[in-house]
């Protein structure tokens, strides 16, 4: 990226909203900076949500392709993180809805080969938690990941899932109850 960075320096201390504005004015370095800030985080979220590395990569690319296409057209200031999580969540949910229609099944658990690899790399507790997360219904898994792994507030989760704060409270409550049941 040196060729780009040399010709189009961007202040890395800028807020996301300023980067979005800068990108709307045609500065591609601002787009690049948004990717640097959020790319890995969105990938990690999608990786946990889908339990599928290839799908997570594909959807991460799709999120940023849409950002490239759509950010210029959206009216007013944009909360990039909330927008990106919303697009990522919708991509994943739509995919599994299509799969469910096709196969009448929930998203697959983490594949066995990956489980073995993951078990070597992670602590037993983390592996157990990730296993329980992967068996949760998609809505519950989404809410728990956004809250505890991504660290979003109820208001921010509401903005991502287009729910009221009361609905987020209720969704998280049901998700925790189910998680507790799965962890035994």
């Amino acid at each position: 990226m040196k060729a780009v960075s040399e010709t189009a320096q961007i202040d890395t201390k800028l807020e996301d909203a300023e980067l979005v504005e800068s990108f709307r004015r045609g500065r591609m370095a601002a787009y690049e900076e948004l990717f640097e800030r959020h790319g890995a985080r969105i990938y990690g979220y999608l990786r946990r949500l889908s339990s599928d590395a290839a799908l997570a990569e594909d959807f991460t690319q799709e999120v940023f392709l849409r950002a490239f296409r759509e950010l210029r057209r959206l009216p007013g200031p944009v909360n990039f993180a909330a927008w990106a999580y919303r697009v990522a969540t919708n991509l994943c949910h739509d995919h599994f809805r299509r799969m469910a229609r096709r196969e009448a099944s929930e998203p697959p658990p983490i594949p066995a080969a990956e489980d073995a690899e993951a078990a070597l790399l992670r602590r037993e507790e983390s592996a157990q938690l990730e296993g329980a997360l992967s068996r949760l219904p998609l809505d519950y898994r989404t809410a728990l990941l956004l809250k505890y792994v991504e660290g979003l507030s109820y208001r921010q989760i509401g903005a991502v899932l287009l729910l009221s704060e009361a609905a987020v409270t209720s969704l998280l409550h049901r998700a925790r109850v189910e998680m507790r049941r799965l962890l035994g």
């Binding site: 990226m1 040196k2 060729a3 780009v4 189009a8 045609g26 591609m28 690049e32 990717f35 790319g39 890995a40 990938y43 990690g44 990786r47 946990r48 590395a53 997570a56 990569e57 991460t60 690319q61 940023f64 392709l65 490239f68 296409r69 992670r122 507790e125 983390s126 938690l129 990730e130 728990l144 809250k147 505890y148 792994v149 660290g151 507030s153 109820y154 704060e165 409270t169 998280l172 409550h173 925790r176 998680m179 507790r180 962890l183």
Partner: protein
């Protein structure tokens, strides 16, 4: 507050999402209820374990950025081609319609056709601006992909 109410709001309490009155009521219940207090500790442990997953970084593949740039380049080139074809088509229409169709018409009708041609050109302006923006992006994405490939 009953134990059933507390169970419903305990998660929001642990997350710091209750309003001050709800928090006070819930804390008053917790002080006198060992069962709900134990449930809170259990919940906090579960939340902490989930939050600890944050530390288990799931690194994206090294090729993520390069693959994104390749897809961007394809998309931008396709958009550019579409916009240019549309722009050329409309420009030709704007020039040839008054000349070919209106050549045998009275001067007023020809003037109207001429004006419609100008209106079409005005409509083209944003499309051409978009095309220029895309040209700039194609150059950027090509530079970026070349740079990545060179590493």
């Amino acid at each position: 507050m009953s134990c059933a109410d507390v169970e419903r709001f305990l998660g929001a309490y642990a997350d710091g999402e209750l309003n001050p009155k709800q928090r006070r009521d819930l804390e008053a219940h917790l002080r006198g209820c060992p069962g709900c207090s134990a449930r809170l500790r259990e919940l906090e442990e579960q939340n902490a374990a989930l939050a600890a997953l944050r530390g288990d970084e799931l690194q994206p593949p090294a090729a993520l950025k390069r693959n994104l740039q390749r897809r961007l380049r394809r998309k931008v080139v396709l958009t550019l081609a579409r916009v240019l074809i549309l722009a050329v088509g409309l420009a030709l229409a704007a020039v040839f319609v008054p000349i070919v169709i209106a050549k045998d018409l009275p001067p007023l009708a020809r003037a109207l056709f001429g004006l419609s041609g100008l209106a079409l050109c005005a409509a083209l302006a944003p499309l051409l601006w978009r095309a220029l923006w895309d040209v700039k992006n194609v150059v950027w994405v090509r530079l970026a992909v070349k740079e990545e490939d060179g590493q």
